[in-house]
Amino acid sequence: MSESFANAAGGGIVAELAATMRENRDYLSEIDGAIGDGDHGINMVKGFDMAAERVEDGASFDEAFRTLGRTLVMEIGGSMGPLYGQFFRAMARQAKGVEQVDAPTFASMLEAAYEAIRELGDAKVGDKTLVDTLDPAIAAFKEATGTGAGFAEALDRMTEAAERGKDSTKDLVAKVGRSSRLGERSKGVLDAGATSCWLILRTTAEFVKRQL
């Protein structure tokens, strides 16, 4: 197994993400339905499918992410469109021009994505959003690479942390977004965005590992 993969060969990522969203559409909408408006699965599938169709054959990893980001920003609306849109656009920007994507590049992609979400959405850890998945996931990835783990190993650590982060949202009170109107009543269920974020990170990790 190598410690990097060819950017040029990574264009399949968006189709895989779209497949994951389709598989989990009803699950995501169900979670959103409990304390939101029940459309998260629909929103995600709509955006990712649209993007998957637009990604050209032979697109690179960064090009695929750029198309995904642009599609989400331009066509989905709501809060998720711009948030995940800027998320993927930021990842694309970090990978642009890179020939081999390695762990440091991937770490900078994650950090840029997080920064974009924070700048736009202003949510903090504990607010019961996708940030609760993203923040520990990135920390775990960097912690792993910093302590000598390989790219694949670090991706596994990231996915595990993402899952724990996602699970942590169950006991949180929503502070931003639609479900914040429920106050204490928003406790007891997972956050939909945190769940889709975990799915995105897990799918991406699996995809990357197969490229190494």
């Binding site: 408006d37 609306g77 809060s79």
Partner: protein
């Protein structure tokens, strides 16, 4: 769900189709299927007035496209922000060469999407400035005004901004007038029943019979308190007691008052409520009502409830409020 729809996922595009078919004298659809544009837009040499937001608030937002009002609107899904692309298209359609004033409400999604649309336009050399309405008093304390939601006061912001642009104001002047309008405006809502987003199919929250939510938001956001239902007169008094000290409004002030139903409220009840608002303002509060608006101006699907908006006016705002206008939701001749 007792409703007049086809596919719950197609209520917005079908509504826009119907709207454009019903008002060919006022609007057209241009460029983007979720953008509704004033028939004669862009008006050369005029600042373009743009707004947008989630659907389900009729007449807002498309109902305010028209002469001396809004030039283009980005239409979102029910209670969900329009896309950045729709905002960008609306801005482009409204561009008459003097810049774009995007006057919209303080919601997270709208802010993000407007921001990205504006960046897009600016890349093309078109100047975009914004005013973010935050007239809803109950949604945050006074020292966190920047967190407050925009509600029915947006109608007055569009009226003022639209009039300033129509009278030849520069982008900065239009922005200043619209900002002054919203800075001088305070609103509050009372909810008596929930509403149901068609694609969701169940009520978005619940209110027990005999109770009301005082300070509710336009999407059912929780208010100051859930309390026993009181009389229309008490609702009027409580609402005024909450919003008047916030500006504050003072004795001698001239005000514009806007009372809107939330969708299911019989129109006669809006007048019963206005009766007391008028009596209190012009009586014990010693103010005068420069112009009242009573009707359905900013709704929440089929929610039962009412909102009260009060704007303090000076000579400039009076002139702008008085300008005639013609849209689906607001048609007015000069009062004086």
């Amino acid at each position: 769900m007792q409703r007049i729809i086809n596919d719950p996922d197609r209520v917005v595009p079908e509504m826009v189709d119907g709207f454009v078919a019903a008002h060919p004298d006022i609007v057209k659809r241009e460029g983007h299927e979720r953008v509704v544009v004033r028939k004669d837009a862009p008006v050369a040499g005029k600042v373009g007035i743009v707004t947008g937001g989630g659907s389900g608030h009729k007449p807002a937002f498309v109902g305010y496209v028209g002469r001396n009002l809004v030039d283009a609107v980005a239409v979102g899904e029910i209670f969900s922000s329009p896309t950045a692309a729709a905002f960008a298209e609306a801005m482009r359609a409204a561009d008459g060469g003097k810049g774009i004033a995007c006057l919209y409400g303080n919601y997270a999604g709208d802010k993000m999407n407007v921001k990205m649309a504006a960046e897009d336009l600016e890349d093309d050399g078109i100047e975009v400035k914004t005013v973010i309405a935050n007239d809803d008093v109950p949604s945050a304390p006074k020292d966190e005004r920047e967190k407050r939601r925009g509600v029915a006061g947006e109608v007055l912001m569009w009226k003022v901004g639209g009039a300033k642009a129509a009278l030849g104001g520069s982008l900065d002047e239009v922005i200043a007038a619209a900002q002054k309008a919203i800075d001088n405006t305070r609103s509050i809502g009372i909810g008596l029943s929930p509403c149901t987003i068609p694609s969701v199919g169940k009520p978005n929250f619940s209110i027990e019979p005999g109770k009301m939510e005082f300070g509710i938001g336009h999407h059912g956001e929780p208010g100051i308190k859930v309390m026993d239902l009181v009389s229309a007169d008490e609702m009027a008094a409580m609402s005024l007691e909450t919003i008047l000290p916030d500006l504050p409004f003072n004795k001698g002030d001239e005000v514009v008052v806007l009372v809107s139903g939330l969708g299911a409220t019989p129109i006669m009840e809006l007048y019963i409520f206005y009766r007391k608002v008028h009596e209190i303002l012009t009586g014990e509060k010693g103010m005068s009502v420069y112009r009242p608006y009573v009707g359905e101006y900013f709704t929440s699907l089929e929610m039962m409830g009412i909102t009260l908006t009060v704007m303090k006016v000076d000579e400039e705002l009076k002139q702008l409020i008085d300008l005639d206008c013609y849209s689906m939701g607001l048609r007015q001749e000069k009062l004086r």
